[in-house]
Symmetry: C2
Subunit: 124 residues, 2 copies
């Protein structure tokens, strides 16, 4: 589900038990270093806002960030809020499952709304 | 093995069949957003240099980047050169192994030397 969009970027949700967002560039690039410098810096500013909002709202035990795109070489950044009792911790979400977790987290919908408000001024 | 160090950052190698470096901050931070803004921007500049040098030297099929630090919450960035025929591709290096790879890559030692040269001007 797309929860944010501007001229340069958009943010999608990933279906998961944990809060998990993916930041894409509107124009497709293979690697992070293929982005023009200014856009790359803005991408990391956007990442920073998402991380901070996630921490403030969900109080995770750790934030995980990743950029792989091996199947389809279109660079995007994963932002994940991790908990010691989530199904994969301390492994990355791509690692071996550790348990059947039952997380009791605050509303994802309210978080998306809050993030959207926070990003109102970000549009380039 | 530590291959680079300045006032703010250092770079270590990860033992692997693929080129894999880890960028640490000298001061320990839990999350990327805990870094002061200027240092955060410089970290991503350092990341960019490492990525570009890795691409130019190793010609990987894809660069993978990740920041997890779930076991020990000390933020650092993984930079990995991935190949379609490496042991885990297209999975992340933390995912399920796909095959027993035999990669024939250029000298890691020469790459470290080249990267060190490239980073001579980076010291803050």
């Amino acid at each position: 589900m797309k929860i944010y969009e501007d001229t340069d970027f958009f943010i999608e949700t990933e279906e998961s038990e944990i809060p998990w967002l993916k930041i894409f560039t509107q124009i497709e690039y293979k690697e992070l270093s293929d982005l023009p410098r200014e856009k790359r810096l803005r991408l990391f500013e956007l990442y920073d806002i998402v991380e901070v909002e996630m921490i403030n709202y969900f109080s995770p035990d750790k934030i995980n960030m990743a950029s792989f795109a091996n199947m389809l070489p279109r660079v995007h950044i994963h932002v994940m809020a991790r908990y010691k009792n989530d199904s994969y911790f301390p492994n990355p979400m791509w690692g071996e499952k550790q348990r059947e977790a039952k997380l009791d987290l605050a509303s994802f919908e309210l978080f998306y709304e809050r993030l959207q408000k926070r990003l109102e001024g970000f549009t380039s």
